[in-house]
Structures are given as C-alpha cells and as structure tokens.
C-alpha cells in the first residue's frame, strides 16, 4: 500500500509539474475557423490603410461570441481569417470562443474589474456607456471616427448616440429593431386578415383568438423576461412617445403601459410566469401562439424550425397605436445589440492594430454578407439585399420609414432596473401589486 501511494504521489507531482510546463509549448489559442475557405471570397476592394507597419507582429486576443452555433459564426470566422491573411506578419487576431452569453458577460466584467480588459471585445446594453468610460480601461475611438471616412459609413445618429463627452469608448456595431410577427393562418381562423392597428382592436382580436383556444401572445417572466420587456417597450412608446424615458420612471406612461401589459397576460399561455425564451419560442414555432415579437436575428428560424410551413405564414406588422397616446404609428423600439470595445493599449502598434481590425470588419461588403447569412442588422449603412426573406425586407422598410426608433426599456434604464423587471412583472401578473406598485418596485431597484 505504501509503495503504491508513494508512486501515485510521485506520479501526481510529476504530471502536475509537466502540466504546468506543457501549455507554454502549445499554440496560445485556436485560430479562427475556416481559414482556408476565407481568402477566395473576401471582398478585395477593402479599404486598407497602408500606413500600418508595426515593429513586430502584433497579437490581439478577442473573446468572441460570434462563434460556434451563432448565426454569424461562419462569415465572422471568414472575416477574421481574411484579416489575419491580409495582415500576415503584421497583426494577428486570436479568437477565444465564448458561446454561453451570460458567462461571457461575467468574464468581460471580471476582466475589466481585474484591470485587464481584453484587447478586443463586444458588449451589449447591460454595460452602461458611462461606466465603461469611467473605468479608464477602454480605448477612445473618437479620433478615428470623428469626421473620417470610416465614421461616414455609419447611419445618422449612430455615432453621436455612442459619444460621451466627445469620446467614443464603444463603437456601435450590431443594431436591431423589434417588429411584430403574426401567424396569418391562426389570425385568419379567428377572422382577421390584417393585424389591428390599435391596442383596443388588438385586444378584440385576442378575444377572438382565445375563443379558438389559441394563445394570442406568448409571453414570459422567466430569465430576463425578454419578449414581455419588448412589448412593454413598444407600449411605452405608443403611450408616452419617443421622449418617454426622459423623465425617468416618474412618467405616468410607465403605469399605464404596465396596465396594458398586464392585460396581455390574460391572453397568454398558462406557463407564462416563469417561462424562458425557449418556452415562448416553442409556443410560436409549434403553431400554438399567434403574435410574436423579437429581433431580426430570429426571423430565419420561423421557416427553419416552425411546424406546418410556419415560415410562409408569418407576416410582419407594426406595433399598434394607443388611442390618446403620444406615440406616432410606425415608431419602433430598437437596441444596440453589440458595441465593439477595446482595452487601453500602452503599445502604439497594438492600438493601431485594434483600429485596423475594427475598420476591417466594419467594411460594408463584409457586413452585407454577415447580414445576409444571419439576419442581423448593422449600424454601418448597407444596400438593401434582394435575397432577404420578405419579413426581413418588411422590417427594414419599416425601420427606414420609422418616425423614430427608441432603445428598448432595458437599454434605457440602469442595469439594476432592467434586471428587476422580471420579478416586478411576476408581482404584477400574479396580482400582488398593481401597476403603480410595479413601477414602484422598478424605482426601488434603481436606488
């Protein structure tokens, strides 16, 4: 026994020592996938500054969420490979695969807190621009974007929205607007060929759907209460207009909108309280629910995953108007789905490489491909794509002619308020508080 244990001990120490030494010899990280496939299809007319000549090859690490089963993974991988190809010997971007989004957020937050922000990374609206700016750990892109050719490629207002005290710590990258999508067959069964244009009519329709045994609105309060939060945002805009967030939660629109949202829960599935996104999506894709909302990235999934040829039956609609509300019909809720950020660099070559890379991946030719393959929308101006599915074209047309697109509730509120939304909604739906109490809970969370 003693000998065996001594051997195990020795072995353990030896292998541990080996394991400590071994990784140094290994390649630091996987290279972006599909390296070979990339070069041929890369847009060759890329605008590349010839001025980038670092002293030695610069390596940039990039914890990246556009990998794995993400719909942007394939094209994004090609983009990175093309960059590494073109800048071979000068700069190299090393992708770190991040698939679990919550874990990714935790990691970025941890790294920033530890004072070691990654070279390249993306964030969404749960990170507040003011905090990112105050952290002092991020690069300012204003010099490269203000009044430059690169800056001119962005849609109007995109950059000014991201500018804080004249500095741009986060480049707006992926955008989204939220439309309403309905199952035209289920609506037809209930006697509707068009989607109603007012909330009153919408509730009348919901009654008709309910009589048919159909779930009118698949809603959720689990996870981040995503689809419910989107509806709340649309209702807020319809009632309070585009300036609804200006006065914070004191605006009476928040209470009124909560009443409307609560009413929608009369027409939802019995499992809505506590339901997650997968449950909500399941109801719509399984032909059980009639009216859905989500970002453009979801649109390809109607055809891919819906039963009974759902893809051909889903139609786009604008969010309804609220009688007596301050909103304008056609106004939409939207979001910055991803900003691009970079950790501060002490090395000028590295900083230059970061700019080169972000310029490279923001070329309209690449983004056009990325949009086509994934359904996503971007802040860089792009030509319309005739290959887009009809609902996506409808959504883009609506976005282009929208009188206003206002960031959704979670984006417009402090992080803590957005995080408190699901639990407050539970209370509202379960009747432990009224609409005013619901808003009070949100207010308390923000303090």
């Amino acid at each position: 026994m003693k000998k065996i244990l001594a051997m195990i001990l020795a072995l353990a120490l030896a292998v541990t020592a080996f394991a400590c030494a071994a990784p140094a010899a290994e390649p630091a990280a996987t290279e972006a996938p599909a390296a070979e496939a990339a070069a041929t299809e890369a847009p060759t007319e890329a605008v590349v500054e010839e001025g980038f000549h670092p002293a030695s090859e610069v390596t940039l690490n990039f914890p990246c969420i556009w990998v794995g089963t993400d719909s942007k993974a394939a094209v994004f991988g090609e983009m990175v490979a093309a960059f590494n190809d073109e800048y071979a010997g000068r700069a190299k971007v090393v992708i770190e695969e991040q698939t679990d989004y919550q874990a990714y957020r935790d990691k970025i937050r941890t790294m920033i807190s530890a004072g070691q922000a990654p070279d390249l990374f993306s964030v969404d609206g749960t990170f507040k621009l003011a905090d990112l700016a105050d952290s002092g750990k991020l690069m300012d892109f204003a010099p490269y974007l203000d009044g430059t050719d690169w800056g001119a490629t962005y849609t109007e207002g995109a950059l000014s929205d991201a500018t804080l005290d004249g500095k741009i710590y986060a480049i707006p990258f992926e955008s989204a607007v939220f439309g309403i999508y309905y199952n035209s067959e289920l609506l037809a069964n209930a006697g509707y060929t068009e989607f109603p244009t007012t909330y009153d009519d919408m509730f009348a329709m919901a009654d008709a759907l309910k009589a048919q045994g159909v779930i009118a609105f698949p809603l959720m309060t689990g996870e981040n209460a995503w689809t419910s939060m989107l509806w709340y945002s649309q209702i807020l805009l319809a009632i309070g207009g585009p300036d609804v967030y200006k006065n914070g939660l004191d605006d009476p629109a928040f209470v009124q909108a909560a009443d409307v949202l609560k009413k929608m829960f009369d027409y939802t599935s019995s499992d809505a309280v506590g339901a997650g996104a997968a449950v909500v999506n399941g109801h719509f894709l399984n032909f059980e629910a009639a009216v859905y909302t989500n970002g453009p990235w979801f649109l390809p999934r109607f055809a891919k995953e819906g039963i009974n040829d759902l893809g051909s039956k889903v139609k786009f609609a604008l969010p309804p108007e609220y009688t007596g509300g301050m909103g304008t019909y056609g106004g939409l809720a939207g979001t910055v789905q991803a900003y691009l950020c970079a950790g501060t660099q002490t090395d000028a070559d590295k900083a230059a490489a970061v700019v080169e890379f972000y310029k490279f991946i923001n070329q309209p030719e690449w983004l056009y491909q990325l949009a086509e393959s994934s359904g996503a929308m971007f802040f860089v101006k792009l030509d319309s794509n005739p290959n887009d599915i009809q609902i996506k074209q409808d959504l883009l047309a609506a976005a282009n002619s929208a009188p206003y697109i206002v960031k959704h509730f979670n984006d417009s509120m402090p992080t803590a308020v957005g995080n408190a939304f699901p639990a407050a909604l539970d209370e509202l739906v379960l009747g432990t508080v009224d609409a005013q109490g619901f808003v009070d809970l949100l207010k308390a969370a923000g303090e």
Binding site: M1, K2, L5, A6, I8, L9, A12, V15, T16, A19, C20, A22, P23, E26, P27, A28, A29, T30, P33, N61, P63, I65, G68, T69, D70, S71, A73, E96, E97, Q98, T99, D100, Y101, A103, D106, K107, T110, M111, S113, A114, Q116, A277, A278, V279, N281, G282, H283, L285, N286, E288, G295, W297, F298, R301, E305, G306, I307
Partner: protein, 289 residues
C-alpha cells in the same frame, strides 16, 4: 388459547410483517430506481428529437429519430480533446486534492492538539464560501502566478476549492476508526508516516474514495471557472464543449443533450469501476468499534 397456538400466531404475524417489510423494501428500491433513472432515459430520448418537438411535447417519442444531433455533437471542434482535458484535469486535481485533504484530516482526526477544532472549523467554513463571488480574486491570482489559460491553473484551483469538502468527508470517516489498532502500531514502533500509510490510509479508503468521487464530479461539472480562466480550446474542458450549442440568442438543446449523453458515458463507467474497487478492496474485520 394454548401456548403453541399463540406461538404459531406470532410466527404467522412475524411472517406477515416480514413479508410486508419485504414488499415495502422493494417498493422503495424500485421507486428510487425509477426516479433516478428517469432523467437519464428522458435525456437520451430527448437527444434524438428536434428542438421544436422538445418544446411542443417534451415527453413524447421523437417522430423521426434524429441521429443528426449526435453528428452535430461530434462535430464540435475538439469534443474528444475536451473530454481528455476533463479527465486529466479532473483526475490530477482529484489526486492532489485527496492527498492534501487526507493528510490534513489525519492530523486533525488522529491527534489532539491545540487549535485543531479551530482549524477544522475554518476549513469547514470554506465549504460555505460562495465561489460566484470569487471570480475577480481567482482571476487575478491565477493570472498573477502565470497559470491563466493552462490546465495547471485549473488543476490547482480545483484541488484547492475541493479541500474543505474533502477534508470534511474524510475526517468524518477517519473519526470512526478505532484507536486501538493505531495505538498498537505506535507501541510496535510505527512512526507518524507509517501509521498514516500503513494503517489510517488503507482503513479510510472508503472515505477517500467517496471524497474522490465527489471531487472528480465537481471538476467534471465545473463551468464558470473553466470558462473564466482559459481562452484556448486546447486546454478547455467538456463543460465548455457542451455549451458549444448555446449562443447569444438561442440554445440548440437537442444537440446539447447529445453532447451531454456522450460526456456522461465516461463518468458512469468510471464510477462503476470505482465502486467495484471499493467492494473488492474492502478491508473486512474489526475496523470499527
């Protein structure tokens, strides 16, 4: 009633009682077997469905058995490599952990010295430390000692975070070992190390194997720090492989289930071998008392 009749009656009653006991026993055993097997069976069946089916009727059989989910799972870049990493990281950290914990438990359990209960309470309190709150310090410590993105970093961290739990389990079982054998050995001139290696370690084998089992499973299932402290697929573990099917907007549950099924095969086999080892290696005789 004659005495004999009474006895017969009692025996019949006893027999009935024993029969009832037997039935009860089997009901319990079968209930728990069903209850614990059910998740596995559900997981396996679900891993052959489509996602839409899964959320339409989670308890039906698949209309078409989707072998493709398993093909997807195996397509994950380096799933086998990740499994290998998990085996190496889990195995080495378990050995390191159990070694450290058993040596500590030996000192605490077998010797009376000042502050031993204090040390033990300190360690036991370690079980309560919520690791979610330690992301920043662990990130800093592991990067500072230069083990970010290495298997060694995870091995070290996992060994450490399991020490309170392992010490707790091993000490609990060491406490019930009889003092006499040890004292006899002491009188026979067996020293500190001899008593540990020749007597205490073999006798507390069960506790050590139990602690090792939990330690290994903890490592095998750990995700947060595996993701936080690595950046390269070469050193990553199976839990990151399983989450390959998750992204910002959706999760491909059925393919993920397929990956989970693949990933639990080695742990179940490993567990069965381990358990066999315990049974065959059992030291019978006056261990207790």
């Amino acid at each position: 009633m004659t005495k004999r009749n009474e006895t017969a009656y009692l025996n019949a009653g006893d027999a009935a009682k024993a029969g009832l006991g037997k039935v009860l026993k089997w009901i319990l055993m079968l209930f728990f077997a069903f209850y614990t097997l059910f998740p596995l069976i559900w997981l396996i069946i679900s891993s052959f469905k489509t996602n839409t089916e899964l959320f339409g009727d989670p308890f039906s059989l698949p209309a078409v058995w989707q072998i493709g989910n398993y093909i997807n799972a195996f397509k994950v870049s380096g799933l086998l490599k990740m499994m290998g990493n998990s085996v190496v990281i889990g195995g080495l950290s378990t050995v390191l952990n159990v070694l450290c914990a058993s040596m500590l438990a030996y000192c605490i359990s077998r010797f009376h010295f000042k502050g031993r209960e204090a040390i033990f309470t300190f360690f036991a309190a370690g079980i309560l430390v919520p690791l979610n709150a330690l992301m920043v310090p662990y990130y800093v410590i592991i990067s500072q000692i230069g083990l970010y993105n290495t298997r060694a970093g995870l091995i070290l961290l996992y060994s450490a975070i399991g020490i309170p739990m392992s010490t707790f389990i091993i000490r609990g079982l060491m406490d019930s070992l009889s003092r006499e054998i040890e004292e006899a050995a002491y009188i026979d001139g067996c020293g500190f190390f001899g008593r540990y290696f020749r007597i205490i370690l073999p006798l507390s084998q069960n506790g050590i194997v139990t602690a090792a089992t939990f330690q290994f499973l903890t490592c095998w299932n750990e995700f947060v720090f595996a993701n936080l402290l690595t950046s390269s697929q070469n050193v990553r573990t199976i839990q990151l492989g399983i989450r390959y099917f998750t992204n910002q907007f959706s999760t491909d549950f059925v393919s993920m289930y397929a990956a989970i099924v693949i990933s639990i095969v080695p742990s179940i086999i490993g567990y069965m071998i381990f358990q066999k080892q315990i049974v065959s290696g059992l030291t019978s005789g006056a261990v207790k008392g």
